[in-house]
């Protein structure tokens, strides 16, 4: 059997710490299928009430930006200072702004 047949697929695990918070990436694990990935994630990443909700996503389903192209990718917003509130000067005597 080839190495990839023997090894279960890799899943990334995201946990919502409590209501009102985003799911946050906490790590990864191997599992034969989605349902087992969820069970393993419960056992590995939430043994002490660390979460109220778990997402598992197969790692090969994630498309990520490459760090090498970070400059060109994020450059378009670098020179758009007018997107920030501090770009605008408001007189001192104008309240609540």
């Amino acid at each position: 059997m080839s190495a990839d047949r023997r090894e279960w697929p890799l899943y990334e695990v995201f946990v919502r710490g409590k209501r009102g918070l985003n799911h946050v990436h906490v790590g990864s694990l191997h599992a034969p299928d989605d349902a087992m990935a969820l069970r393993h994630a419960r056992d590995v990443y939430t043994r002490r009430n660390e979460g109220v909700s778990i997402w598992v996503v197969r790692t090969d389903a994630i498309t990520a930006s490459s760090p090498d192209e970070k400059d060109p990718l994020f450059a378009p917003n670098g020179d758009k200072v007018y997107r920030h509130p501090t770009f605008y000067e408001i007189p001192e005597n104008v309240p609540h702004m």
Partner: protein, 332 residues
């Protein structure tokens, strides 16, 4: 392979970017460029760390069935389960460097990757469960807290999760020993005997002295390690002495005393020849630990196969159900 004239320049640029990230005390993340040696060092260190958590379940695991009460059994089970979890966090961090967990498992089983020397000592009495929690997890905490700030992001994040859980490990061990120290003379003697056996091996957990730790300097320069072996060993001794006093046990070192001038305890040298022997494979339990790990791995093969078979069968059923006229009727 053809080398374009731009390539050495590119290498330099990548190296400079890496160096700048380290110099800023910033983290290196999985998809960043990194020098091959940095990657290799991390794989070796994280794998060794992961294997230690997994092998580390054995000495204490041996006492789960013999724990003296349901309360102690539940605590010990939870502690050993945590160690399995620590192993998995670390394998997961290691995999971000481009190695697979199965590869690492095979290297461990083949004896080609190491784990901490401490787990090659036997647990001869129930007091050892307490001593391991107090001293061995205590030493692990000293090692691991600075690693939360290690330069490789996934490793540091795994260490943060681990450190949160280690405090329970140390406290349950110390509480167990305190309970025994409040018991009979025989129980107190059992605690002292256990501490006598584990004290020196615990000090060895920090590795050889700085002068004989050739890769340390480079690991420190890379921010992989944050403190030297001797620094951490000293920190551990200083933390442990008052705990031993409070417990009422003696640490088996005639040279152990407070040094007013240094503001630290002086202490004797562990038997470095013994450490070398244990690392070489000649400790009291090296063969047993690996044999047990291999058996567990082989005994679990049918479970892994069954789960894979179930997963592919379910996928087939789901595919044919959605393709067929009835639709919707999945496997589950």
């Amino acid at each position: 392979m053809t080398t374009t004239p731009a390539e050495p320049e590119l290498q330099e640029r990548l190296q400079a970017g890496f160096d700048a990230t380290i110099a800023r005390n910033d983290r290196i993340e999985p998809r960043d460029w990194m020098p091959d040696d940095y990657r290799r060092t991390l794989v070796r260190q994280i794998a060794q760390h992961a294997h230690s958590e997994i092998i580390g379940m054995q000495p204490e695991g041996a006492w789960i069935g013999r724990a003296p009460s349901l309360r102690r059994k539940a605590i010990l089970l939870a502690k050993v389960q945590d160690e399995a979890g620590h192993g998995l966090y670390l394998y997961s961090a290691c995999e971000t460097l481009g190695v697979s967990r199965i590869e690492l498992t095979e290297l461990l089983l083949a004896g080609r990757q190491k784990y901490s020397s401490i787990f090659n000592y036997p647990t001869l009495s129930y007091a050892d469960v307490g001593t391991i929690g107090w001293l061995v997890d205590g030493a692990a905490i000293c090692n691991q807290v600075p690693l939360c700030r290690t330069s490789y992001g996934p490793y540091g994040r795994a260490m943060i999760r681990i450190c949160k859980e280690e405090s329970f490990h140390q406290r349950q061990g110390y509480e167990l020993l305190m309970t025994m120290m409040r018991g009979t003379d025989a129980q107190r003697a059992m605690v002292q005997e256990s501490v006598d056996r584990f004290w020196w091996p615990s000090l060895m957990m920090f590795g050889p002295p700085d002068g004989e730790s050739p890769n340390s300097a480079r690991s420190m320069a890379w921010g992989v390690k944050r403190n030297s072996n001797d620094e951490l060993r000293q920190r551990f001794v200083d933390m442990t002495v008052p705990q031993a006093d409070a417990l009422g046990v003696t640490l088996p070192d005639p040279d152990l005393r407070w040094n007013e001038e240094r503001g630290h305890h002086d202490f004797g040298d562990p038997d470095w020849a013994e450490l070398a022997a244990v690392i070489r494979g000649d400790g009291p339990c090296n063969a047993e630990r690996l044999r047990h790990r291999r058996t567990a791995h082989e005994d679990g093969a049918w479970v892994r196969e069954a789960a894979s078979a179930f997963a592919s069968r379910s996928a087939e059923v789901a595919a044919s159900a959605s393709a067929g006229p009835s639709g919707g009727a999945g496997a589950r």
